[in-house]
Amino acid sequence: MATQVQTANRHRRIIVWSLMLLIALMLFLPLIPYALAYVSPEAGGVPNPGTELWRAVRSGDKGTSQVQGVDTGVLINEYGEAWRHFRMEQLIPFGAMLMGSVLVLIVLFYLVSGPLRIPGGATGKKIQRFSVFERTTHWFTVSLFWLLALTGLILLYGRFVLIPVLGPEGFGLTASACKEAHNLFGPLFLVAILMMLLTFVKDNIYARGDITWLLKGGGMFGGGHVSAGRFNAGEKIWFWIAVLGGLVLSASGLVLDLAVFGQGREVMAISHVLHGIAALVVITVSFGHIYMGTAGVEGTISSMTNGYVDEAWAKSHHDRWYAEMQAAAGDDEAEQAGGGAAAGVASPVAND
């Protein structure tokens, strides 16, 4: 059966060639677009399936990664550049300008107008202005404030100011010490601010006469005597700047400090911005507070050291508070006289 054998061979050939053709087509057909693109690249109408993807990635879309950690799935950090711009081109230069100019203004003011004297001079009679606890709270807050302000300013400006002095390694050591101290003492500042708030808030609520006080600039213009309670409007504003600024500082500081809750770079950057602005504002305003409490107004500093001020000081700067104190003291005396307590024993407290 020769024809049968021939037919079978032909079939086999057809199958083999068909398969070979199929394979050839499978291999070459997909190359056609590539070949076309190679011949005329500009005409390549086939979009890269990745293009859209990369656009999304650049705007912060998240992916996944085998590496575990904060923000590991984020390919591009979209806040980094804004944060860098804020810190390097705004916070550092403007902060320095702000603090510097206020310091210069205070010095000029002191040189021009000198300290505010007690009208008529001190009488020598003292009245208590701040209790032991109030003073303790104040100085506790002060200690923490300057510890944090100095370490913070060193971290902010040290690169420009201290590296030339200490050298890079010396400053690295200093900065590390400052960073650790700043991080450790930071949360305590919240305690101090809360103590401050609880201790002084009742005397720092808006009262009638505060607006007048402000309009007259605390007696600088408009002439006439300005009336004030235990704290004048200026002190009240400082109180609220310090307390609210302190709370912002504490809240943002805690976010930065406790980097254990997986907060990402976005949250950290925003906290950092708030922290920086609040810190520089409070530090700058504190210069004014310090000036008024020490060199600026005669007879003020003793209210925070031994707690007592001269009666003339009280009458002149806080007349309404002075009147209240006198009334309260009068009540006490009346009570004591009525109770028949030993009037002959002079209370030694006032002599302290």
Binding site: P41, W54, G63, E81, L156, G158, I163, P168, M268
Partner: protein, 211 residues
């Protein structure tokens, strides 16, 4: 001098994490630190792409700009390195970096955030080349031995390319041309894609990852 660059071809990366492993092994980085990671976008969906990412050794590096102790420096090869004797572990570089490259080890006894660690382009650090101290602090210094980063050398699909930027860009350009579409050189050039800082150079030097 050549300017060293990484390039990861997303069309080729198969998320095998060999680069991550190679890096960890070569540099003996501490537990919890990954100088290189592979990020997968659209995992499991059409258009899934993976990308190996580490420090891209930016010109005008943001990390260096914000560092409060100024511990960064750029080598003649264009590799961005930092001095761990100065670093205070504040984390600012991490906030500024576009790629999330800076890493922070946890100190065992103290538990606080330690000094920053990141990809060195296998170029060690400021200590004497290939000294044990340098290896302990910064990992290997293959560049000083005339070698290129191990991650790229290990890459099975030649997705991750490392080397002289001009050579790398030429390799990639050819690939893109062959693919017939505008590929995307991710993380290439200046941080945040600012233009005009880096100019092209004539191709010379070497690179790992060319086919």
């Amino acid at each position: 001098m050549a300017r060293m660059k990484f390039l990861c071809d997303a069309e080729r990366c198969i998320e095998c994490n060999a680069c991550v492993t190679a890096c960890k092994n070569e540099n003996e980085v501490p537990w919890g630190v990954n100088r290189r990671r592979v990020v997968t976008i659209n995992d499991g969906s059409p258009g899934e792409r993976s990308m190996s990412v580490a420090c891209m050794h930016c010109s005008d590096a943001p990390c260096a700009a914000v560092c409060p102790v100024d511990c960064f420096y750029t080598t003649d090869d264009g590799v961005v390195l930092h001095d761990k004797d100065i670093c205070i572990g504040c984390g600012y570089c991490f906030y500024a970096c576009p790629f999330g490259a800076p890493q922070f080890p946890k100190n065992e006894a103290f538990g606080s955030r330690g000094k920053m660690d990141k990809c060195t382009f296998c170029a060690g650090g400021p200590l004497p080349d290939n000294s044990p101290e340098e290896y302990a602090s910064y990992g290997s210094n293959r560049l000083a031995e005339g070698k290129l980063p191990l991650c790229a050398e290990m890459c099975a699909t030649r997705s991750l390319i490392a080397g002289d930027g001009d050579v790398v860009s030429e390799i990639f350009r050819e690939r893109v041309t062959w693919r017939g579409s505008a590929g995307f050189a991710w993380g290439w050039g200046v941080a945040y894609n600012k233009s005009g800082i880096r100019k092209g150079k004539a191709i010379e030097g070497n690179a790992v990852g060319g086919d």
